[in-house]
């Protein structure tokens, strides 16, 4: 971890005046030039390129995991994404079977409800 660059970024982000200065190109360069950062760090900041900045901040590729890790959703697992075939929209035999089973279950669940909606038979007159 490049702590000097990280601390510089934190000091800027924590100070609304410095953030405003940074958003003004001419003031930004003087703020960067007056810092104790290395030339490489200063160049990375001046480039305005996020990838360059993240590379300077990270000591190695393992630290770049910071920006790549979703905190959420194991949906890939939850919804059974297992093969590239399923992803392309072509459903696997397993998915088709599961779908048929679910469809049958839905139909059978609907039956009693349909009966209740049926009109009562008219009483036969004797």
């Amino acid at each position: 971890m490049n702590t000097s660059l990280a601390n510089f970024l934190i000091s800027v982000a924590s100070d609304p005046d410095k953030v405003a200065q940074f958003n003004n190109p001419s003031e930004r360069n003087s703020l960067i030039d007056n810092s104790d950062l290395s030339t490489e760090d200063k160049d990375a900041l001046k480039s305005g390129d996020v990838s360059t900045l993240l590379e300077r901040l990270s000591a190695g590729p393992e630290e770049l995991t910071w920006v790549l890790t979703p905190v959420g959703t194991g949906f890939g697992i939850a919804f059974g994404i297992r093969t590239g075939m399923e992803l392309t929209g072509e459903r696997s035999a397993r998915a088709r079977t599961a779908s048929k089973t679910a469809s049958r279950a839905r139909k059978s669940a609907k039956r009693p409800a349909a009966k209740t909606r049926r009109r009562p038979k008219a009483k036969s007159r004797k």
Partner: protein, 279 residues
Amino acid sequence: MTAAVTAPGLGEVVFVGTGFSLVTQTTPEALGAMRRADKLFHVVAEPAAAVWIKSLNPTAESLALLYREGKPRGETYREMVGRILEHVHRGEKVCVALYGHPTIGCDPTQMVLALGRDEGFAVRILPAISSDACLYADLGIDPMVDGIQAYEASVFVQRRPRIDTRTPIVLWQIGFIGESSIQFSGRANKPGVTALARRLTAYYGKDHKVAIYQASWYPFLPSTVIWTDIRSLPETATAAVATLFVPARRRPATSRTAGSPRPRRAGAQARPPGVRRPY
């Protein structure tokens, strides 16, 4: 949100979000929770944020170190929850700081919330700035004008929900479609993006313009917005954590902007785009 009142002997958990932009998108309330915690865990989006969090509370520990290439994310999340519970069972006040919003796309939050209800410890969740909030600001979108549809991209591809092309769509994590682990390369899973493009083509055609969006990590750098057509999406969407914004295909029939514009009354002011008509 708060779930349950802590049972005797148990600690409590508060989930906070740090937004995206370094320091500036963390609310004072979240800041207080991070400072006061007996144990602070975090998963943040860029390295300087971790240094900043450590300066707030010396107990700070990154849960991001539990990620491994090839390891299912579900397993990583369960380990994260295990680390959190160790401290809750010791009766400590635990704070978990996550980038973005703590309930948007965050499995550990939901898992701890459910466990809190079962075991009887309090779980609090503080609101934060999410990626879609940043997207609305950066693209100048008012979701109240045409409405909004939002899906996690894998869910969108797998569940195939019926969509309304008159309403814009926000799709989170387009680079992780069909990806149950993580890639340290940070590259999007191309077969997943291709499947997404195919699904969108069926509704919008190949020429419809979409925006690949990534909120800025720093208050002094702009967010990344790449406009492309659906045809070029698999080649253009290269970042794993990007969000996709799909504008409406056409305005709703009820909108005054549909078809030829109505003649404006003399002296009437034009409304800026995205601003609602007053009732």
